[in-house]
């Protein structure tokens, strides 16, 4: 999988959901490369900032976009990795804050 088409596809599909790519393009492409790497090694795009166990069912909450993205964008203006920011942050009406880990530790294998 190539990174540029992934960028274009996700930009379109995720912006429709109110999730915007971080304006730091180097960060975005670094994370998209990491998602492609995870797709290669696990078979799915596990969050690059979390430890995947390789079992799709156990990792389903951290398959990007993870289930924590929405509450994290709402509370902190960004997702855990910083790949996505909220519309307010994208429009410079708010600043993204440090995002603590929301995933319960018992989900880690």
């Amino acid at each position: 999988m190539k990174v540029e088409p992934l960028y274009q596809a996700l930009k379109k599909s995720q912006e429709a959901k109110g999730a915007y790519f971080n304006k730091d393009k180097d960060l975005v492409f670094e994370l998209l490369d990491a998602l492609i790497l995870n797709k290669d090694r696990y078979g799915y795009m596990a969050c690059p900032c979390r430890l995947a166990c390789g079992d799709r069912e156990k990792d389903k909450d951290i398959i990007c976009p993870c289930v924590y993205r929405e509450p994290d964008m709402k509370e902190f203006g960004a997702c855990f990795c910083g790949l996505y920011v909220s519309e307010a942050v994208n429009n410079n009406q708010a600043q993204a804050e440090y995002v603590p880990e929301r995933r319960p530790p018992e989900k880690l294998f």
């Binding site: 670094e30 690059p48 900032c49 430890l51 910083g82 440090y98 603590p100 880990e101 530790p105 880690l108």
Partner: protein, 87 residues
């Protein structure tokens, strides 16, 4: 001393990379553990070590002497290292 400083990280994580870069810029000796490269019992043992100092077991987890810093918190890391923060 290196054995007192540890960085638990993932190869793919942006915050981990930033933390590694910062520690390298500060010329700190540290043990670097890339947890996603570990498997089986080895991974299990390391996760227990991390949970002991960071119950959320998130990445990066940094240990500078007796100070544990979770996440890429530049100021806190520099403070723990006793490095002047110019930012």
């Amino acid at each position: 001393m290196a054995e007192n400083n540890k960085l638990y990280a993932l190869s793919t994580c942006s915050h981990c990379k930033s933390t590694k870069k910062l520690l390298n810029e500060c010329n700190v000796e540290y043990d670097y553990v890339q947890v996603d490269d570990l498997e089986g019992e080895e991974r299990k043992a390391i996760l227990e070590d991390i949970k002991a100092i960071n119950p959320r077991c998130s990445f990066p987890t940094v240990k500078i002497n007796d100070t544990v810093i979770v996440g890429f918190k530049e100021k806190e890391i520099k403070k723990a290292l006793g490095v002047e923060d110019e930012s």
